[in-house]
């Protein structure tokens, strides 16, 4: 009966041993569609935040003057520059310089981790909590949900870094690296919008 199995090589352009589920180009298409879809959650949160803020009688809870913006600005600069370093890492990859890739990649991870740490420091110094009206609710919802994405990005980068040590793994470039990089730029753009909405737009 085994002889009636379909022929071994299916010619789907898949990597040897990749089997049926590996359609190289589809992964990136699928990932881009996923990111577009994911951005709608943020859009929903942003528009919800704007509607609540515009409709509020007293936006700031009692005892809260506003948000301190200097430290988050440093955080922003760190995150934006990490978009540059991940680009450099990808360029090294394209030049087949695997150690150059690893160095820039690791630096990007460090910048991402610094951002998370800065976020944690900011959270711990705040005088309001998640349940402090819609001001506290939207603040923690937006920064928390974005922070989860940053964390996911750093973990994905760690995974890709680990995979770079498998011999010859990244010879022809790597889908996962491209996807992670796209994800990282996405997280970055979301943060810029978030920074404008939360820290720049303080007057209600």
């Amino acid at each position: 009966m085994t002889s009636s199995l379909p022929s071994q090589d299916h010619g789907h352009g898949s990597a040897p041993g990749g089997g049926h589920g590996m359609h190289a180009k589809h992964n990136l298409t699928g990932f881009i569609i996923f990111l577009l879809s994911e951005s709608v959650i943020f859009l929903a949160f942003f528009s919800g935040y704007a509607m609540l803020k515009l409709g509020a009688l007293d936006w700031l809870p009692p005892g809260v003057e506003g948000l301190e913006w200097q430290t988050p600005l440093i955080n922003t600069i760190v995150l934006v520059s990490s978009s540059g370093t991940i680009y450099l890492a990808e360029r090294e990859m394209a030049r087949h310089n695997i150690w150059g890739f690893r160095a820039w990649w690791l630096l990007t991870m460090a910048l991402g981790a610094y951002f998370l740490w800065g976020q944690a420091v900011e959270w711990s110094g705040l005088k309001f909590g998640f349940t402090t009206g819609t001001f506290g609710g939207t603040f923690y919802l937006l920064t928390g949900f974005h922070g989860l994405h940053v964390l996911t990005g750093v973990l994905l980068m760690a995974l890709m870094l680990g995979k770079s040590f498998i011999p010859n793994n990244y010879k022809g470039g790597e889908q996962g690296v491209q996807a992670t990089s796209l994800f990282w730029h996405f997280v970055d753009v979301i943060w810029i919008i978030l920074f404008v909405l939360l820290y720049v737009w303080q007057r209600s």
């Binding site: 009966m1 085994t2 009636s4 199995l5 379909p6 022929s7 299916h10 010619g11 789907h12 990597a15 041993g17 990749g18 089997g19 049926h20 589920g21 590996m22 359609h23 180009k25 589809h26 992964n27 298409t29 699928g30 569609i33 996923f34 577009l36 879809s37 994911e38 951005s39 709608v40 959650i41 859009l43 929903a44 949160f45 919800g48 509607m51 609540l52 409709g55 509020a56 009688l57 007293d58 998640f130 349940t131 009206g133 819609t134 001001f135 506290g136 609710g137 939207t138 919802l141 995979k163 498998i166 793994n169 889908q175 996962g176 996807a179």
Partner: protein, 564 residues
């Protein structure tokens, strides 16, 4: 993204029992990555939940056959309509459509399988998972969620028993899982359609069903994340005590309605668009004529996507919505009848003067089209702000959307199941039982849902278990109709099971239809065309034109694939 794939999916996918692999029927109970297996898994699970949701509906109709509240407790009744709506939408209609997508997309576009077969299987197996979560909520001390399937705050954020695991939190969990599953599915379908078509199959050579699925799944990708966002905020309100939707904390309950309907209105198009595709395919085949205005019918799907995203406020005109918003959304809602009308007239022109074959799939299509036009007329009425405010939250609305969902969409789905049954089982269904099923469904659905319109105009509110005696007559009629609908499913189940087990063997192309899926044997082999993907050389629906669909067509017709 893994580089080493130790298992070969083809072993699971083979039609023949392979040593150490699940044999033929057992594959339907395994984590199988074959789209054709997953499709049948989806449809079977969905039909099981159709029975569950239908049973809940019949209990409600049993309650409503008399004006008094005498069959079930009022709280139980609230749980019944909440769970009926939730089960029918998230457990029946989305899964059954995803089942059809899985069965039909790859063969119709000449692809071997979906773009991401393993994700596809994951998306399917989440359905029984959240089904169990949803059903388990019946066993909780406070009963299942009972805030209606909209789950509007502040009703939905009441938690009288104070438990963390309440009917409402289970409901939110199930809906969130359903959303994840649908997004994974949509990703898969859209990627497959964009990237895996047969050579020569340009966008304007795709069957309309593929166009409509593409449009519908695009809506899922845009709309579902918004609902997920709203559901996350509602969950925080319920469990953590935030006040996004709580007025006492500065929140806004109407904001939830925006989130909810931004998805849940387009969800109606997610349901009805593939059914438009089914109508387009079947009217053409069973009238032996090319589809009238193919390009317009195809493009109208995306016009509906665009307009469908900007009409959501019409669901809550009375909820303190500003006047300008009401007027704006009234206009956009009415505009949507233009692309829809394009399709309806195209179908009428297609069957006009055709050699109509009144077999079961065609009867279901005609019945579905009749019901759809009726629902379209009441839809225009409801779009009008003054009428909507008058009949809002009455049975008029219930009647309207049941005509769309059951009268049109479910009848279209039945049509598709009968039409493609032979292709995927290799057996023919029994025509007599099919026609009986059609007659009972058509009469039952009209008997059940038509009386809701006069009831609504008379002012009977929805979601009540007792009512004034003057509403009795129409309620009795509707209840009888619902029991008839319950009976109508019996010939369907009999037909499906008996013809799959011992029905007559189906030929490759019983309808003399034109389409890539009909160039495959019945049932198709695991990877469809494998390496012999045909090159498409003309558009679909070439009935009566004599133009071949693919290069070297004769080789594919009545081919002898290697028998397994």
């Amino acid at each position: 993204m893994t580089t080493s794939a130790p298992f070969d999916p083809r072993i699971l996918k083979s039609n023949a029992p392979v040593p150490g692999a699940p044999d033929n029927w057992k594959r339907f109970f395994s984590f199988n990555t074959d789209a054709k297996v997953i499709g049948i898994q989806y449809i079977s699970v969905a039909i099981f939940f159709l029975l569950v949701g239908g049973l809940l509906a019949m209990i409600m109709r049993g309650e409503l056959i008399t004006p008094e509240n005498d069959l079930v407790d009022r709280t139980v009744y609230n749980g019944l309509y909440t769970m009926h709506g939730t089960i029918m939408l998230f457990m029946f209609i989305f899964p059954v459509l995803n089942g059809l997508n899985n069965l039909l997309i790859p063969p119709m576009i000449g692809a071997p399988d979906m773009a991401f077969p393993r994700l596809n299987a994951v998306a399917f197996w989440m359905v029984p998972l959240f089904g169990v979560i949803l059903m388990a909520s019946f066993l909780l001390p406070g009963g299942p969620a009972n805030a209606g399937w909209w789950s509007y705050p502040p009703v939905s954020t009441q938690n009288p028993l104070g438990h963390l695991i309440s009917g409402e939190s289970m409901w939110l969990l199930a809906v969130a899982l359903s959303g994840v599953s649908s997004i994974i599915g949509a990703l898969n379908f859209v990627t497959t359609i964009i990237r895996m078509r047969a050579p020569g199959m340009t966008f304007f050579r795709m069957p309309v069903f593929i166009w409509t699925v593409w449009a519908a799944q695009t809506l899922q990708l845009i709309g579902l994340p918004a609902l997920t966002g709203g559901a996350i905020m509602l969950l925080f309100d319920l469990v953590v005590g935030t006040s996004f939707f709580q007025p006492e904390g500065g929140g806004d309950p109407v904001l939830y309605q925006h989130f909810f309907w931004f998805y849940s209105h387009p969800a109606v198009y997610v349901i009805i668009l593939p059914v438009f595709g089914i109508f387009s395919e079947l009217f053409s085949v069973h009238s032996r004529k090319p589809l009238f205005g193919y390009a317009f019918v195809a493009v109208a799907s995306f016009v509906i996507v665009f307009l469908g995203l900007i009409v959501w406020v019409h669901h809550f005109f009375p909820s303190g919505v500003p006047e300008w918003m009401r007027n704006l959304f009234m206009v956009t809602t009415m505009l949507i009848s233009v692309p829809t009308g394009v399709k309806v007239f195209a179908w009428l022109a297609t069957i006009w003067g055709g050699k109509i074959q009144l077999n079961t799939p065609m009867l279901f299509c005609l019945g579905g089209l009749f019901n759809f036009v009726f629902a379209g007329v009441t839809g225009i009425m409801l779009a009008t702000v003054p009428i909507d405010i008058h009949v809002n939250n009455t049975y008029f609305v219930v009647g309207h959307f049941h005509y769309v969902i059951y009268g049109a969409a479910v009848m279209g789905i039945f049509a598709a199941i009968y039409h493609w049954f032979s292709k995927f089982t290799g057996r023919m269904y029994y025509e007599g039982l099919g026609k009986l099923h059609f007659a009972l469904t058509f009469i039952g659905s009209n008997l059940n849902f038509f009386p809701m319109h006069p009831l609504g105009l008379m002012g009977m509110p929805r979601r009540v278990s007792s009512y004034d005696p003057e509403f009795t007559f129409w309620n009795v009629v509707a209840s009888l109709g619902s029991f008839l609908l319950g009976v109508s499913i019996i010939p369907f189940l009999l037909n499906m099971i008996s013809s799959w087990v011992r029905g007559p063997k189906a030929p490759q192309n019983p309808w003399q239809a034109i389409g890539l899926e009909w160039l495959l044997p019945s049932p198709p082999p695991a990877e469809n065309f494998e390496d012999n993907v045909p090159t498409v050389i003309s558009g679909p629906y070439g009935y009566g034109t004599g133009k071949p669909l693919v290069e070297n067509q004769a080789a594919y017709e009545n081919q002898q694939f290697q028998e397994v």
